[in-house]
Subunit: 209 residues, 2 copies
DNA sequence: TCGTAACTTTACCAAATGGTAAAAAACTTG
DNA sequence: CAAGTTTTTTACCATTTGGTAAAGTTACGA
């Protein structure tokens, strides 16, 4: 029995704490991604990670705390490819590289993609501040890089912000709308490669001056 | 008191039935779109359309029935622009026209777009059969039209299915991810026009052989 | 205009759900 | 290994929520 639960931990989290929080996040990620926040119950999360409900609350003070921690934890690694565009590199290859990395993420981390999709579609109730403070500055900076490439005539003259939107839209579509794509384009095996090729060809055409 | 509720109606629905079902659908649409199915309560729907909860159940036998009716009712008008592509028309203008209509729908009917987005992101639990039976044949047929245009050298050689996916992705992104776009690109007034122009230019480049 | 069917409202209910209390078990450390 | 601390488990609880029962009210055709 403890009066003050260990979450949030006063000092350093123990090994068990680190592990179990990770287990919880991993289970919650899949459920939140496909059922949304309200569509997911604590019992489901507990089941999925082989723990009991009160144990979740021992590590996270509420269901919402799990969701928030997930969003915050995943946000930066989700955005990291955007920041990786190098202003000194070859413009066309930098952007195509970014697109390639986004496609890879859609394939490897569809749960993360859908988690964010759910959050944004529903008006980003828990992420708006984070979008303002973290995404916006990065976005503006990368738009600036693209604008310069355009001014230098290295790539086609397109509105940088809308260009990034279209990249996000197309690449994340493959993760977020997979259920639909699976119906319309059966034949699992080579779908990913076909998508990669298409996106590469499409954006190369778009970006070439 | 009635033993057999009037839903589903045995014969022809009365004027009041038609009106009230419409009121319910309209209220439910906005709520399901931004909160998802499980995130929306019957009380919220009742509130939003100025009715009492049991009254909803008088017109729809369950919350799920409202959701299903919404999806079915909106599906065909949502898809109608795709079917409107004319195999006899000018290929480039037909596709660009379709894109234009999709952008318009994103602007005019964001709730419908988000309703479907929610449904698909969550694995289309209530729409999979409908996708198979209604969307798939239409999709295949329109892919066929595009394939022929490609074979005739009228537009660039791109995988028709992925082309349509990219059109859906980009156009619907403006409705589904509006919360994010509003943060990244403030200044409401000319955002829609900028988006329209961008998308037009982008796909014209992509489609031109 | 009157009777009946259609519609609305009030008062409920059972199950699900987020969360708590506190005892039991396991682990750590002097 | 003993004492204290952390972690897990069992038993609950209050609220929310989808839905029902049934009485009250309105609309409408004969």
């Amino acid at each position: 029995m403890r009066e003050t639960p260990v979450s949030p931990p006063e000092r350093k989290p123990s090994r068990i704490q680190t592990e179990n929080r990770q287990r919880i996040r991993d289970a919650a990620l899949g459920l939140f991604a496909t059922q949304g926040f309200r569509g997911t119950t604590l019992d489901q999360i507990a089941d999925a990670c082989g723990m009991h409900k009160p144990n979740l609350i021992y590590y996270y003070e509420s269901k919402e705390a799990i969701h928030i921690d997930l969003l915050n934890t995943l946000m930066e690694e989700w955005l990291s490819p955007l920041g990786a565009m190098d202003p000194g590199g070859d413009p066309l290859e930098e952007i195509l590289g970014y697109i390639h990395r986004k496609m890879e993420m859609s394939r490897l981390y569809p749960r993360e993609s859908r988690l964010f999709a759910n959050e944004i579609v529903q008006g980003a109730p828990r992420m708006l501040p984070h979008l303002e403070s973290t995404l916006k500055p990065l976005f503006d900076s990368q738009c600036g890089i693209i604008a310069k490439w355009i001014k230098d005539g290295k790539i086609a003259d397109l509105h940088p912000a809308h260009l990034i939107f279209s990249i996000w839209a197309v690449t994340q579509h493959y993760a977020d709308f997979e259920a639909q794509i699976a119906v319309l384009l059966p034949g699992d095996d080579k779908r990913a490669r076909g998508a990669d090729q298409f996106v590469e060809v499409m954006f190369r055409k778009v970006l070439t001056p």
